[in-house]
Symmetry: D2
Subunit: 132 residues, 4 copies
C-alpha cells in the first residue's frame, strides 16, 4: 500500500544551481509520511502529544533528475518494514504528469517515549502501518 500526496517546490528550496537543494527532498519525504499517517488515522502530531516520538535514525536518498522552482512533485510513501520499536518508510518522488522519477529514498525511525528513551510501538499503531 502506498500513499500519494503532492507538493510544489518553494523558492527558498532552490539553490544557485537553479534546482531544489538536496535537503529539500528529505523535507518532502517528511510531508509524505505525515500525510500517510494522517490518512491512516494516526496523525504524527497526535502521537507526539501522546508522548510517542519517531526521530529519524537513518536516511538514504538517490537523486535521479533535478526539479525546479514551482514544479509539482508527487510524494509516494510506503511502509517498508515495521519492527517492535522501529519503522522504515520508503519514498519515490515523481513528476505528476509523466511519472518520471525525481528521487527515491528511505528513512528509519526509532520509537521513543516522552523521556526520549527507546520504547515499543503501540500495537494499535503497528496494525495501522501495513508493510508494502
Amino acid at each position: 500500500m502506498t500513499h500519494r500526496t503532492e507538493i510544489r517546490v518553494r523558492y527558498p528550496e532552490t539553490d544557485q544551481m537553479g534546482v531544489a537543494h538536496h535537503t529539500s527532498h528529505l523535507v518532502w519525504f517528511e510531508i509524505g509520511r505525515t500525510e500517510m499517517m494522517r490518512s491512516l488515522g494516526c496523525s504524527y502530531a497526535d502521537l507526539e502529544r501522546e508522548q510517542l516520538f519517531l526521530p529519524v535514525v537513518e536516511v538514504t536518498c538517490r537523486y535521479h533528475r533535478p526539479v525546479g522552482y514551482d514544479d509539482r512533485v508527487v510524494v509516494e510513501t510506503g511502509v517498508a518494514d515495521v519492527g517492535p520499536a522501529r519503522i522504515r518508510f520508503q519514498y519515490r518522488l515523481l513528476r505528476p504528469d509523466t511519472d518520471e522519477l525525481i528521487a527515491t529514498g528511505t528513512t528509519l525511525h526509532a520509537a521513543l517515549n516522552g523521556k526520549r528513551r527507546p520504547t515499543r510501538l503501540p500495537q494499535a499503531i503497528r496494525d495501522r502501518l501495513p508493510a508494502v
Copy 2:
C-alpha cells in the same frame, strides 16, 4: 556598543537568483544576537535553560546589496532599546573588507517565562544589555 561576528554564506542559503535568499539574513541576525549575548556573559542557551524565552515579536529588514555563496558577512549587532519586558536589537550586515552595506534590520523580543507567559526581564540581564 556593538558586537561583531562573521559568517559565510552557505550553499542552501542561496536561491535560484544566485544570491542569498532574504530569510537567510534573519538567521544571521539571530547568530549576531546569540554571539553578542554570549560575549556579554548571558548565553541565550542558558537563558532558555533557566526558563526565560525571548521570541521575536517583530522584525524589519532592508536589503541593500545582494550577497552570494561562500561570501563572508560581518554581522554587527547592537541593543537598540531595553524595556521592562522587551528588547530591541538592531543589525547591520557588511562586507568584511570594504564595509559595504548588505542589509540593516531590527528585531523586537518579548520576555516569556516557562509557561510562555509575559514576564519581566531579570535586572541582571537588563544590566548586561546596554543600549547603543
Copy 3:
C-alpha cells in the same frame, strides 16, 4: 482585492520553543504572493523565465500568536502599492477556523532585468496587480 491560500506548518519549520520559527512566516508570505500572482495569470516562475526578477528589498513582520507543527495557516495576500519599478505586498496569516491573527507583514520588491539591473514593471503586469 485579497487572495487566500492555505499551508500546513512543516516539522522542520518548528524550533525548540515548540512553535514555528519566525523565518517560516516569510516563506509563507512568499507562497501567498506566488499563488496570488498565479491566480492573476502572471506566474512568478514565468516572469523569471522572461527575465523579470522581483527580489525582496524590504520586509516587515509582526508576530501576534504562535503557530505549531501541523497547524493550518491561511495566507491572505494583497497588493499594497504598485509603482513604476516596485511592488509592495501585504499579508495576514490567520487560523482557518477562527480567523485569529497569527502575523501581519509586508514585502517590497524591486523589478530587475536579466542583468539584475533596475527596470520598469511591464504595463501588462501592473494592470494585473490591482492595489487593495
Copy 4:
C-alpha cells in the same frame, strides 16, 4: 587524510523535539566538504565559476546521538573514492571535547559542466582530492 572544521547548532536548525532536525546534518556535511576543498586549494565557489558543478546524487546518514541548540559539532570530512566523473565524500560528526559520535554519512557527487551535462573531473582536481 581527513579534514576537520567546527560549527555551532543554530536556533532554526532545531525542531520541536528540542534537537537539531535531521536535514541539518546534511548542511553540515556540505560545510565540511566546502572547507576541505578550500583547504586543498580548490574552492567549490571557484569550481562553479569555472563551470564545474558537483551536485549530490546520493546521500546516506546515520544518526547516533542527538545534538542541541548552540552545541558545537566537529565535522570530519574525507574523500572516500574518486572516479573519472564522480567523487564520494564520507563524514563523521563528533562532539568536540569527548569525540562522541553524533552522526556518520556519505555523499556521492557527479561532475557536470556548465550545460549540466556529465563531464570528467579535471585531473588537477583529482590530484588534489586524495582518497582516505
